[in-house]
């Protein structure tokens, strides 16, 4: 187990390093680079630009710049926002909670629903329910999240007027129920893809398990069907889902960005788009790298959890 942990951690350190290189490349190889911000200021002369470049260390060799940027990244100094001079990590931190609240609520409900849709589909294979669930999942994966969001707002906010069209809470209210009321629509929109993916993976995982010998053994010893399916089959079919949870993190984050935009949710995704429109590179880079790091951590956690839950994995 210790060897497994060390191996995985080293792999992730290597990935983290590659992630940081990609992030750095996006910022520095883009036309204009970090200087674009200043080039747009009216009355800026070429000489002044060169001076700024020198002050920012942009005339030094690229590997030196990268090395300095990376060391500062590791020490927690992610630079300051161009917009208001606040430290990047602080700004992201203040928006991260809203994103986690939305993602957490949405994912926990969607995963629960997805698991049960998948299990029922596998048990009643080729039934009408299974067929509808399979086709429905495929369509759900093809609907653009932002359009689903607009349709949801149109139906539930514009026409029926029962759900708020955006924001995290009503200004001046902010009670727990008010928060929940605002969470319903965006969680539903963000959760659609999660339900679809989980039901598909769970269905095929359950089908793999159902044909195993130990299921036949459980039935042969006379265990009630319900107990066989839930305690023997489902518990084992859930194991590979730990990996699925890790692998789905990038999709979930992408979905959160779009959902937050539609529902004016004050999270990291909206901050990302706002920063883009202000050409606030330090914040853009910060969110880009942080989201990749979150995905890395999520995958590492999933690996470890899987190894803890399934001894066969860590013995290899």
């Amino acid at each position: 187990m210790l060897r497994f942990l060390i191996q995985r951690s080293l792999q992730n350190v290597l990935l983290l390093w590659l992630v940081s290189m990609i992030g750095f490349a996006v910022l520095y190889l883009a036309p204009g680079g970090p200087l674009t911000q200043f080039a747009l200021v009216p009355g800026m002369s070429q000489e002044q630009l060169l001076k700024i470049a020198e002050q920012m260390g942009l005339n030094r060799p690229i590997h030196e710049q990268y090395f300095e940027w990376f060391t500062r990244l590791l020490s927690g100094d992610w630079g300051r926002s161009f917009r208001d001079g606040q430290p990047v990590l602080g700004i992201i931190g203040s928006h991260l909670w809203a994103t986690l609240e939305l993602m957490g609520t949405s994912a926990s409900i969607a995963i629960f629903v997805g698991i049960w849709v998948g299990v029922l589909g596998a048990i009643k294979r080729y039934s009408l329910f299974d067929y509808l669930a399979t086709v429905g999942a495929m369509v759900a994966l093809s609907i653009p999240t932002f359009w689903f969001g607009l349709v949801t707002i149109y139906i539930f906010s514009v026409k029926l007027g029962i759900l708020p069209a955006g924001n995290r809470y009503t200004i001046g209210d902010g009670s727990f129920l008010d928060h929940v009321h605002h969470l319903i629509a965006p969680s539903l929109v963000l959760g659609l893809v999660t339900v679809a993916l989980w039901s598909r993976y769970m269905r095929s995982s359950m089908l793999d398990v159902i044909n195993q010998d130990y299921i036949r053994t459980a039935r042969a010893k006379g265990a009630p069907e319900r107990q066989v399916l839930v305690r023997h089959a489902m518990r084992n079919a859930l194991l590979p889902m730990i990996t699925v949870a890790g692998l789905q993190l990038p999709t979930l984050l992408s979905g959160a960005l779009v959902t937050e935009t539609i529902f004016t949710w004050p999270g990291m995704g909206r901050l990302f788009l706002d920063s883009l429109s202000y050409r606030d590179y330090p914040v853009v880079m910060g969110i880009l790298v942080l989201s990749a790091v979150l995905v890395l951590i999520g995958n590492l956690l999933a690996d470890i959890l899987y190894a803890v839950a399934d001894p066969r994995i860590r013995l290899n």
């Binding site: 290597l14 990935l15 590659l18 992630v19 290189m21 990609i22 996006v26 883009a30 036309p31 204009g32 674009t36 086709v135 495929m138 369509v139 994966l141 093809s142 609907i143 653009p144 999240t145 932002f146 359009w147 607009l150 349709v151 707002i153 149109y154 514009v158 993190l249 990038p250 999709t251 984050l253 992408s254 960005l257 779009v258 935009t261 990302f272 788009l273 883009l276 050409r279 853009v284 880079m285 969110i287 880009l288 989201s291 990749a292 995905v295 890395l296 995958n299």
Partner: protein, 296 residues
């Protein structure tokens, strides 16, 4: 001996042509995939021929008939805030969105195939480095990465296509790498190597043709993804810029008229959903059709 029996008999002898026929048979049995195929053919025809048959240009401004609702006037799908015909705009936008989908897929498949082939064929340090690069790229939520790059450049049809391709080749690379790894150990590959074939010859003439199936499946799903990505970034304002219409940026404009003219939002979204669903169904059908293990 009946016709079917003869066919089964000949097929058992492993004629490659008949094997392809069996794959086509399996695909045709996949009703949703066939429906998806028909739908894409229909969409392509409507978008590329349709505008020639309409009395309105997609840029023609008919301000007297602005906000005309659908299905009541000569403007079949209604008009937008400037009185432009919604159907004409949808078809022109379809040309852009579908073309970007196909073009981005082609680029992504070429890039992914080359990276995957090199990584899988040579293995070792080169392979490990390339595949870790693939892993690292996959850590970034794709929309964040595309938006970050798109915001720096001058957005246009070509540049958006390239950005989408640059952020979506990794799945293809993974598929090809896996295929190459196993194919290069096979007897015919070893024979080609012993006969003095160059690496390039072995990779492109001997190995890759045997990996076409999985690549085609990945490519089909890639088109679906590329169309979705284009719509996301255009919707968010960093993709195709008006007056060039795309399904994504039409939705961007529609957002503010949601109450007054919901059809402006409904139709482009439907078009995207139909196109993407169709490609996903085709990909699913191809996966089943090209997997010989599923043949009974």
């Amino acid at each position: 001996m009946s016709h079917a029996a003869i066919q089964a008999d000949v097929a058992a002898s492993g004629e490659p042509v008949l094997q392809r026929n069996r794959a086509i048979d399996r695909f045709m049995r996949h009703k949703l995939a066939v429906a998806g195929m028909a739908m894409i053919a229909f969409l392509l025809m409507v978008c590329f021929i349709g505008p020639l048959l309409l009395p309105f240009d997609d840029l023609f401004i008919d301000i007297k008939h602005r906000f005309a609702p659908p299905f009541v006037s000569v403007h079949v799908l209604g008009t937008d805030p400037l009185g432009r015909d919604h159907l004409a705009r949808l078809m022109m936008a379809g040309r852009i969105s579908l073309s970007i989908g196909f073009a981005a897929m082609l680029m992504a498949v070429v890039l992914g195939t080359v990276v995957g082939a090199v990584a899988g064929y040579y293995g070792g340090v080169i392979g490990a480095v390339l595949m870790r690069l693939v892993d690292a790229m996959l850590c970034f939520p794709s929309i964040f990465l595309i938006l970050a790059i798109a915001a720096f450049i001058h957005p246009g049809v070509v540049s958006i296509t390239i950005i989408i391709a640059l952020t979506s080749w990794m799945e293809v690379a993974r598929v090809v790498e896996g295929q190459m790894k196993s194919l290069r150990e096979r007897d015919f590959a070893v024979a080609a190597e012993l006969m003095g074939g160059t690496d390039r010859y072995i990779i492109f003439r001997e190995l890759l043709p045997n990996a076409v199936g999985p690549i085609v499946v990945a490519a089909t799903l890639n088109v679906a993804n590329a169309i979705l990505m284009e719509s996301y970034i255009s919707f968010l304002g960093y993709g195709i810029q008006p007056p060039t219409p795309s399904w994504g940026n039409m939705l961007n404009n529609a957002q503010q008229y949601l109450e007054r003219a919901p059809w402006l939002a409904i139709f482009p979204g439907l078009a995207i959903t139909i196109a993407v669903t169709s490609f996903n169904f085709i990909g699913d059908g191809l996966r089943d059709a090209l997997d010989p293990r599923l043949d009974h």
